[in-house]
């Protein structure tokens, strides 16, 4: 098996896309190190890479194990803790509402708590590494947009202040 085929086969098994590139380069560096060692040991240069790939083991098996290592875990303990704290808060509010009439407690509070818990669960399922990747893209696009926006703003303010006259014809003046 060739190095590229091996790496592709490993990476295909890993579901977490954000770690794929790093995994690929790490395994590639390992194969290159091994190939170099074989070369130094006197192996024919054309066989070194293939032999190095052989020492890696089964690509699908490695990929599946790496997939397990990078599988995201649902933060069950945090969700349970949040639910318990919310429940305690509601109980406290209910008890206080029995003594102080100005404290209102009704079914809307229960609905709000349920929505809160659901939002918490939803946000805990989000892969936050996506923001790290998007930041770079957003920053680049902003950097591209920024000079254009800035020059447009300056031009508009100068035109509005009558500091400059437009280069294009603005009317049918003779």
């Amino acid at each position: 098996m060739k190095k590229e085929d091996f790496l592709n086969s490993v990476i295909e098994q890993v579901n977490c896309k954000s770690v794929r590139a790093a995994l690929r380069s790490e395994l590639e560096a390992h194969i290159d190190d091994q190939a170099e060692a074989f070369k130094a040991a006197g192996f024919p240069p054309e066989q070194c890479e293939e032999e190095a790939v052989k020492t890696m083991g089964d690509s699908v098996d490695i990929g599946m194990r790496l997939d397990i290592a990078h599988r995201r875990h649902f933060p069950l303990a945090a969700v349970i803790a949040a639910a318990i704290l919310m429940l305690c808060g509601m109980l406290l509010r209910y008890s206080l509402s029995q003594f102080f009439p100005q404290i209102d407690f009704n079914s809307h509070d229960l609905k709000a708590a349920a929505v809160g818990i659901m939002t918490f669960v939803l946000f805990s399922c989000i892969d936050y590494t996506i923001f790290a990747r998007l930041t770079k893209r957003l920053t680049l696009s902003r950097l591209q947009l920024f000079p254009r926006l800035l020059s447009r703003c300056i031009m508009r303010s100068l035109l509005a202040a009558d500091c400059i006259s437009p280069l294009w014809p603005t009317g049918t003046e003779v």
């Binding site: 790093a22 560096a29 091994q34 490695i62 194990r65």
Partner: protein, 112 residues
């Protein structure tokens, strides 16, 4: 003589953590060092090492950083964390108890 995989499986993470306690290492270096130190007894495959390294990293026992090697290759260096040292110590204690008990049973009489 080949070592039974079952015997090796339970102690691989302890061996890796022990090596990383000495200094930071990259994957290939870990396999090489393990092989040399064990007089070619522990020939760990990359397919076993990397998933294990990544699991240890997810658990917070080791941490990694990328750096350029002399050959210009980007390598991922792993080092042990404070939690990792704690985990290693408990694994070593467990291992000492286990090996001591095995030795007692097979008649070597070594008490740890």
């Amino acid at each position: 003589m080949k070592i039974n995989k079952g015997l090796m499986a339970g102690s691989t993470d302890m061996l890796i953590l022990s090596l990383l306690k000495e200094r930071e290492m990259y994957g290939y270096e870990i396999i090489e060092t393990l092989e040399k130190r064990s007089d070619n007894t522990f020939a760990l495959k990359a397919g076993t090492l990397y998933p294990l390294l990544h699991s240890l990293e997810s658990a917070g026992y080791i941490t990694s950083r990328e750096a350029n090697s002399e050959s210009g290759r980007v390598r991922k260096y792993y080092s042990i964390t404070k939690n990792g040292v704690g985990c290693l110590n408990s694994k070593l204690a467990e291992w000492n108890k286990f090996s001591g008990a095995v030795n007692l049973v097979i008649g070597k009489g070594v008490r740890i």
